[in-house]
Amino acid sequence: MSTALQPTAAEQALGVSLPSRRMEDWRWTDLRARINKPYPPQKVQAPARDVERLLAASPFAKIAKARVVFVNGALDEKHSRLSGLNIGPVDAKLKITDPVIALNSTLKAEGVRLKFSETQDQPVEIIHITTDAAPRALAVHNRIEVADGASAFVIETFLGEGDYVLNAVTEIAVGKGAHLDRLKLQDDSSASTHLAQSIYELEEASRLNDVLVLKGSALTRQNGTLAFNGQHAEAKISGAYLLKGKQHCDTALVINHNVPHCTSRELFKCVMDDDARGIFQGKVVVARDAQKTDGKQSSHALLLSERAEFDAKPELEIYADDVVCGHGATAGDLNHDHMFYLKSRGIPEAEAKALLIAAFVGEAFDMVANDELRAALAGLAESWVVNK
């Protein structure tokens, strides 16, 4: 009983059908309705000065020594600093599929495989720059691999100007006993759409610490699919939203506890002002054999306007009988007692608000295991509050 809809002009231009609210996972983010004009896929040459301006705008520009720069979806070796990095071609084939991945394949995304065979202490930044041009769609597909016993810190930064649909797939493979810290900053153009999928594979005794900071784009949908393939692995995925205007940001994570003795933690701290809307959908699936699973997720919203909205949808799907799983969600405005206390000590209203907002998202930033990066994020939150 197919009820195939007539393709929209946007769907024709992209070459895929877009998910609509008829699909449960997309009920809050109806891409079919929201992407309402054609974004034909296009390779665009970027003027060097646009690239350089955007590169300099990365809050991590002075922190990461090695970097891999993508400009308008293509690797830009000239602006990259690849020395010491193990970079190869990425295999286009992916194990899972969903609308974001389907679009990524259709758009013939380019990208690299970044492999860490030894421990690398210095953060490596992958920067995605999109420059202003006619409305268009573009895609990237990268793979971050940490070999058995190795460890690495990777920053993924998205910056852009103009009107575009950016589709980004990132594969993350953490080997046995390996450790990966990732920090993703999505600060795409305020007119853009950001569609992302992270696919995580964690082997035995590995550790992943992922922090996702979302403040750009008019429309963001980021999916994450994590698989525990080996026992005693641990995954932390934290997130912070800084949204204003009519921004819409939806994160949908699925954590698959396929094997016993793994731990997962999700913590999202979401700030919404004006008419912004934030969504967090977290699903934890515990397979029948995955005894002693410890899975917890929580999402907290700070609503700075009466029109701002936050939706949380936690889901637990548990087939094992000896597990500890839980979820929690809260939403509220700034605490009046906190505001009064700060003001009673001479701190003006605007500064008091800024302190409390920074403290709220700071709980997510605290997960970043690097002082310089944490300070850069604090600065980012501060300027967000000031320029709100």
Partner: protein, 251 residues
């Protein structure tokens, strides 16, 4: 310095008056104790002076060095030199105590047109005062009041006072929840701040705090009004006879 005239206050969402024509004059260098039974309006007075929302002044005036306090925002009152040590200090997760002190001090200095302190200057300034109040470096690194014991919270309030150097300190039931040793530390901290330019209003239910912070003037607050004013011996008399006489007078 502080001039309260015929102050009438009610809660915003209730019609019942809490303060019913309170008048009080405090001069520089003086320490005034305000004593009274529960429900007499002691805490309301402290909140109205500091500008907490939820109260409505229906009549009367409060001026501080000639300025209309009631027209000022809480932060403007603080910058003008008013400080309330809270009966129940508020916990603020995620804001480090040291950072809070720095932002507060610099905001006040800025409001008064003074230069902000450099980080090393500020650190030295705070550490010196913290040491006198047995406040550890660890406490300064923790979020404001979070996980502090009752005594630690009260000491932290006095530290804020010592750092911000207000010209009028209002201590609201600073002795509540303190054992005698903690009380002595707090009282020493307060006494160290006594100066000819600085006035204090010590609000308390019990006389014992006044053994350690000796007041110049004692007022009895009952039924929303000051019903008796005397010297420090008045506190002792209250300790002996209780508030019964005054409660009747108010009714």
């Amino acid at each position: 310095m502080l001039e309260i005239k015929n102050l009438h206050v009610k809660l915003e969402d209730e019609s019942r008056e809490i303060l019913k024509g309170l008048s009080l004059t405090v001069k520089p260098g003086e320490v005034h104790a305000i004593m009274g039974p529960n429900g007499s309006g002691k805490s309301t007075l402290s909140y109205v002076l500091s500008g907490r929302e939820g109260y409505e002044v229906t009549e009367g005036s409060v001026t501080y060095n000639g300025k209309d306090v009631l027209a000022m925002e809480p932060n403007e009152r603080a910058a003008a030199g008013l400080f309330l040590a809270f009966q129940y200090p508020i916990e603020i997760p995620g804001v480090q105590t040291m950072q809070f002190l720095k932002v507060a001090l610099n905001a006040q200095r800025k409001a008064r047109g003074e230069k902000e302190l450099s980080i090393p200057e500020f650190m030295r300034f705070v550490k010196e005062r913290a040491a006198r109040l047995n406040i550890t470096q660890d406490m300064l690194k923790r979020p404001v009041n979070v996980g502090f014991s009752g005594g630690e919270k009260k000491r932290a309030e006095i530290l804020q006072m010592a750092v911000l150097e207000p010209s009028l300190c209002i201590l609201d039931e600073t002795d509540s929840g303190l054992d005698i040793d903690a009380l002595k530390v707090v009282a020493e901290g307060v006494n160290a701040l006594r100066s000819p330019d600085r006035a204090m209003i010590v609000i308390t239910h019990y006389q014992r705090l006044l053994d350690h912070i000796v007041p110049d003037v004692v007022h009895v607050l009952s039924g929303g009004r000051i019903v008796k004013t005397g010297g420090k011996e008045l506190a002792l008399e209250l300790e002996k006879n209780g508030y019964t006489d005054y409660a009747e007078k108010a009714a």
